[in-house]
């Protein structure tokens, strides 16, 4: 019957940035509100009481129902399809084939190469954007004129429509019309085929991904830097640490947890990169930039092999889950 705010009732003013918010949430005891003396109730009042008693359930129900319908059902359905062979026709229903799809998957060279490419692209691009992003954050983490404007500029790549970005990069890479060959020839190099060059295409996709998303890591790290206490830096200064030592031994360990969160988000998204690849190369030349997501799209919507694509998606999903959860472990030692 307690209505006075307990100590848990005080507003969580700033959510703990390092623990990702949800981890620190604890059970709260204010779901019980006083029921008054039993006077006869109207239906409306009864309804209102009922809602009061079950706020969590009732408020969450619509969203959870939608998610179950549009998210959980598809996942379960995909799981079912992965054991069948089906070409999406209503006349011939899905035929149960057991684990054939999975067996076939691991003998499918195109799948194995796509998996390798996906991991290579993600590892390369996320590493590059982490280094550039943290560097950029350190650069922006000081007072200077036009700081606000510079921060807005840094936001642009990740907020602009990816298709527009990919089209403009594709034009820049254009062997005849693009500016990059113009620059190359002007400084005395031979022009390149860029995206049409099988040895270069995947690297360039990674470059565009890095250009687009290094800002996200930069801004997340910047938020982490802004929240750091002053004391350790003063102590390090007194001990005679120079700028680089302070960065390497003080700043970096302290922002590490938040950088790891940023990296995990980028890993998840980068593994699933679709727009930029689809628009710039559509997986080509040959299959040189065909990642798992692009291959899954082709198998499902170009070849209509829905059962096989479902199996592929399950493996892909497990890969995303495995990589992101093992990365999350990296920040554990820093927590209590």
């Amino acid at each position: 019957m307690s209505l006075t705010p307990t100590k848990e009732g005080t507003p969580p003013v700033a959510r703990d940035t390092a623990t990702g918010g949800s981890a620190s949430r604890t059970k709260r005891s204010d779901s019980k509100f006083p029921t008054k003396t039993p006077t006869p109730l109207t239906t409306r009042q009864r309804l209102s009481r009922f809602v009061d008693r079950h706020v969590l359930g009732i408020y969450v129900a619509p969203a959870v129902a939608f998610i179950s319908l549009v998210m959980i059902f598809p996942v379960v359905f995909t799981l079912f399809l992965s054991f069948t062979e089906w070409f999406g026709s209503a006349r011939t229903p899905p035929k149960f084939v057991g684990i054939d799809n999975f067996v076939q998957l691991f003998q499918d060279e195109r799948f194995l190469l796509a998996t390798g490419r996906t991991i290579l692209l993600t590892a390369g691009a996320v590493t590059a954007q982490t280094i550039i992003g943290v560097g950029l954050a350190v650069l922006l983490h000081r007072q200077f004129v036009l700081r606000g404007l510079v921060r807005s500029i840094v936001l642009l790549p990740m907020i602009a429509t990816p298709v527009a970005i990919a089209l403009i990069w594709r034009l820049m890479f254009h062997p005849q019309l693009g500016i990059l060959n113009d620059i190359l020839t002007r400084i005395g190099f031979a022009p390149s085929d860029w995206l049409a060059d099988p040895n270069l295409a995947l690297l360039l996709v990674g470059v565009v991904d890095t250009w687009e998303w290094a800002p996200l890591i930069a801004l997340i790290t910047l938020a982490g830097l802004a929240a750091l206490p002053e004391d350790p830096f003063e102590a390090a200064s007194i001990d005679g640490a120079n700028g680089w030592q302070k960065f390497w031994h003080v700043t970096l360990p302290m922002v590490r947890p938040i950088v790891v969160v940023a990296v995990v988000f980028r890993l998840i998204e980068s593994l699933k990169t679709f727009d930029v690849i689809f628009v710039m190369t559509q997986g080509g030349p040959g299959f040189q930039t065909e990642t798992l997501n692009i291959y899954a799209y082709n198998v499902a919507f170009q070849y209509q092999r829905l059962g096989y694509s479902a199996a592929l998606l399950i493996v892909f999903f497990l890969l995303v889950l495995l990589i992101s959860s093992s990365m999350m472990k990296l920040r554990r030692p820093k927590e209590k």
Partner: protein, 278 residues
């Protein structure tokens, strides 16, 4: 506080070095957008010139071509309707859920909402495509709105959990003491207090619906194609030249950039699934 001349020179050089470095780092970010806009303003002769033309007579011909030779406005309207529809439904579903999650601490439900970020989009797309084909909903707005909810609902929910958590518990308690039901407290006390947050979450969710590509590739048709897919197809079918494509890309990007300026502080938060306050 008397600094020696040598110190001042060193400091001055340090800050010159800083600005030089900053400028160098910003060049690639700015240049791509500069290239997009200038390309859109170039005449065909300047576009195909052997060397890159830095100084040119700007022309709006490319924009004219986009609006005259394609149904650009129709596609923009499609994107707008799908965006508004999916944001509106996301608010109706997401606001109460986010409030309940924030007030009664239900991180598991919050994680469920976020799990859509981990699952590859095609996993949703295959069943949705099959169901919508059965319902004859391919190439309809409702199909696209439902699909885009997978983008907007997690975004709204996650951002709003943060805003609802910032409301002092005392305010809610005092409304309850005054005899307001939970629902009245939510509608008449909590929602007005978080107007700013709701606006930010809506704008951000709209941006990400506007930018989204994959769902519309599969689920939209001639009538409902959204802008990113339409502009991509201008290129694949060689409907218009590169100058016009740059013009279409510019027009598609401008609304997003303007909206982004209003929600700058929340963008990082939205992208990082509420894990980080930017």
């Amino acid at each position: 506080m008397a600094h020696t001349a040598a110190y001042r020179v060193k400091k001055g050089l340090g800050s010159f070095g800083f600005y030089l470095l900053l400028a160098l780092v910003l060049v690639p970010f700015v240049f791509v957008f500069y290239y997009m806009v200038t390309t859109s303003l170039k005449s065909p002769a300047d576009l195909v010139a052997k060397d890159f033309v830095w100084v040119f007579q700007p022309t709006l011909d490319n924009y004219e071509q986009v609006f005259e030779q394609t149904d650009f406005l129709q596609f923009a309207l499609n994107s707008m309707l799908v965006g508004l529809g999916s944001v509106l439904v996301a608010l109706v579903l997401g606001l109460p859920a986010a409030y309940a999650i924030a007030r009664y601490k239900a991180p598991k439900i919050a994680l469920l909402v976020l799990s859509s970020r981990i699952t590859p989009g095609i996993t949703f797309l295959i069943p949705l495509f099959i169901i919508f084909s059965q319902l004859k909903w391919i190439d309809t707005y409702q199909a696209l709105i439902i699909a885009h909810l997978l983008v907007t609902l997690p975004m709204v929910t996650w951002l709003m959990i943060g805003f609802f958590e910032d409301i002092p518990q005392e305010i809610i308690d005092s409304a309850r003491v005054d005899g307001a039901s939970a629902t009245r407290t939510f509608l008449e006390v909590v929602l007005p207090l978080t107007r700013g947050g709701i606006a930010a979450a809506s704008i951000l969710a709209f941006i990400f619906s506007w930018n989204h590509f994959m769902f519309s590739v599969v689920l939209a048709g001639r009538m409902t194609r959204t802008l990113p897919v339409a502009v991509f197809e201008f290129m694949s079918y060689g409907q218009i030249n590169w100058g016009a494509i740059a013009a279409a890309a510019t027009v598609m990007t401008i609304p997003v950039v303007i909206m982004a300026l209003f929600v700058q502080r929340n963008i990082v938060q939205g992208l990082a699934g509420g894990a980080v306050k930017g």
